[in-house]
């Protein structure tokens, strides 16, 4: 399977898309994730999680290198997602890998804060 199954988000200055292939899901976020797209990001992450469960995903890669900024409301969306994966039984858990850019300042600190919530399932590639 290789398809763009999730409803892509393209609103204001934010875009999100996802594809799945062989129990691996690739998510790409670009632009600015702020209050104006919080609801859409919530819905998008719920779809990603549903698909990850459906295909028994081993790993979800989230490429944020071109995500200029993420506000605290959108960080809460990620807290929901990470906490939900943590609550799964072992068989339903999957790894979340953030692909980040060292030159985008919010990413080092915010992604580290998210990773500390669940070191066992989250890793960060810079």
């Amino acid at each position: 399977m290789s398809n763009g199954w999730a409803e892509a988000v393209n609103e204001n200055d934010f875009a999100a898309q996802a594809t799945a292939s062989d129990r691996r899901i690739q998510v790409s976020l670009t632009g600015t994730a702020d209050l104006t797209v919080r609801t859409q990001l919530d819905q998008f992450l719920r779809e990603v999680h549903s698909e990850a469960k459906r295909c028994s995903a081993e790993e979800v890669t989230v490429d944020v290198r071109r995500l200029e900024f993420m506000n605290s409301s959108c960080l809460k969306s990620f807290v929901w997602w990470i906490s939900t994966v943590q609550e799964q039984a072992d068989a339903g858990k999957y790894r979340i890998v953030f692909v980040s850019s060292p030159s985008v300042y919010w990413q080092r600190r915010s992604l580290n804060a998210l990773a500390c919530l669940a070191n066992e399932i989250i890793s960060i590639q810079a």
Partner: protein
């Protein structure tokens, strides 16, 4: 939106103030304005980012909880030693004032801002109402101190770091 700039190259001080309607679509516009303007002058992008992070989170609080159509924002940056202060003033409800007071007291009392930030992240799971996460983020990620002044239904939040202490890189 009304912007007033003051630049004093001799003392390497950069300040501006603006009045705006607290609308969510304005928040990122103002943050970018701060980032792009200060980066050209200050030359310390990480310090500028910390200021712009505070601007974004404070303005977003105003967009969510302010009443009335006027929010005042001022930013003061001392490029010689990276001292900075960001001040936001708006009117809000008594309920929000009490939540702000409790949240900022908790942040001020914490000796471990990052640990508190993590605790507030966990606490926000499944809760729709205000979590105070943006304020905790200013303290933990931006490494800025927070203070609150209340006068009637007008609140002023100041995020600042000491001019004597250079922002860590």
């Amino acid at each position: 939106m009304c912007v007033e700039w003051m630049t004093m190259p001799e003392s390497q001080t950069l300040s501006f103030g603006l009045q705006l309607q607290p609308q969510s679509r304005m928040v990122s516009i103002v943050r970018r304005f701060v980032e792009e303007s200060f980066e050209k002058i200050v030359g310390d992008p990480e310090a500028v980012f910390r200021v712009s992070l505070a601007v974004h989170e404070l303005l977003e609080n105003a967009a969510k909880y302010a009443v009335g159509d006027k929010t005042g924002l001022s930013v003061h940056f001392e490029s010689s030693d990276a001292g900075a202060s960001i001040t936001l003033t708006n009117q809000t409800t008594p309920k929000h004032i009490e939540r702000l007071r409790a949240c900022i007291s908790e942040i001020q009392a914490s000796e471990e801002p990052f640990a508190l930030y993590q605790k507030m992240m966990r606490r926000s799971f499944g809760i729709q109402e205000e979590s105070g996460l943006g304020l905790a983020r200013i303290r933990a990620e931006g490494e800025l101190n927070l203070s609150l002044e209340i006068e009637g239904n007008t609140v002023t939040i100041v995020a600042s770091c000491s001019p004597r202490r250079r922002m860590p890189t």
